[in-house]
Amino acid sequence: MSTSIVKDLAPGAAPLVVLDGVNKHFGALHVLQDINLEIAQGEVVVLIGPSGSGKSTLCRTINRLETVDSGTITIDGRPLPAEGRELARLRAEVGMVFQSFNLFAHKTVLENVVLGQVKVRKVPRAQAEAKARELLERVGVAAQADKLPAQLSGGQQQRVAIARALAMNPKVMLFDEPTSALDPEMINEVLEVMRNLAADGMTMVVVTHEMGFARSAANRVLFMADGRIVEENTPEAFFTAPRSDRAKDFLSKILHH
């Protein structure tokens, strides 16, 4: 594909994120069933699947916003600690972008990007502000720095949210349906930022329904259904020749509507 920005991964490097035998229940519902997954440094993994398949839950377990019932999750060789300061430290290294942006409503755009650096990373304020402005410039919302989140469009808010996560210098970025709450004309400005991020070598886990993004930016597509990873492949192979019936059924519904 001519628009593809997928880069080659260094072979043989130790995986950055490892999920081993992960299980989770919501009451009687078995949302994650024996998930085994390795994500390499610099890899872009896209999670797709019907709603309720567990893809958002899987994404949220990686920084322990959801606890797991069994199995282990390791980030850069360290297992996820239980609740507490140790977990907080690890979370700072995992950036998270939410469907509903979740910018701090009482803080300006600039403050949103400064807060974590100053309070969690203990970066001096002047340095944090300089970095925040640089990141806001990078995602194209520098002019909005002194506004409150509510004064921005959805697309702008989501780009600020990406800048806020990047400010922590994360090792991996998680995107939980980052464009699902956006008006159609704003989706591309967010996907563009994400494509640039992928091209710069960021390790990314992206839950999305944007098949165009999956095709152009993903190294690997994971198809989930009923709490399992049913199929995984390169985007090219997955979209042109899905193997499982569930994936064929899913693709026929979303590609020909």
Binding site: N102, A105, G116, A126, Q127, A130
Partner: protein, 238 residues
Amino acid sequence: MDILFEHGNFALLRDGFLQTVELSALAALLALLLGTLLAAFRVSPVPVLRAFGTVWVTAFRNTPLTLLFLAAVFTLPRLDVRFSPFTFAVLALGFYTAAFVCEVLRSGINTVPLGQAEAARSLGMTFGQTLRLVILPQAAKTVLGPMSSVFIALPRNSAIAGAFSVAELFQAQATLTDLGYPIALIFFWVALPYLTISASVGLLFHYLPQIVAAGGRLVRGLSERGTPVRTETVEANQ
């Protein structure tokens, strides 16, 4: 007007007024600190702390304040806990009001969308930082009205201390009654100071947003004027 200016009545009422103000202020401070701590307990991820908060609120919010005073003044000394009547009154009133402060704060915390806490946690903030930097500042706006009701009620509740050997306003009333003054006059001169205190608290809460905003501007103004070095650092980094 005679009632005010004979037999040292003015001094009696003045001292009672000051004692009520002091009692209320100390109890309010205790209730605010303790209530905030209890609210943090009640929303914390630690089950033991949550249980402690729940038990505290259930016990102190549902017991008549007079009973709490009774327990403090007559039961605690038997357990060899000995304070002055004034200290017992501050504790009883503070512990009681803390339960209400806790519940007002907790309801305010519940109005802040869950996503705000998730965003803070995913940035690596601890539970305390999340609460202090993200949740409570946003809860403050919704909390202000109900919180003012709690702190307007406090000085009026403090009258019970008068029945337990604290020489505050309500006890001044008892003294004046014993001296045989007309009840309507006594009522007027005792109710007026209570009204003054409660109305002042109400006004304070009414103008609190402006006061806080002005304070914030002052702090920002000082820090901007005080650190010209900082702007140079910013430029150097760019």
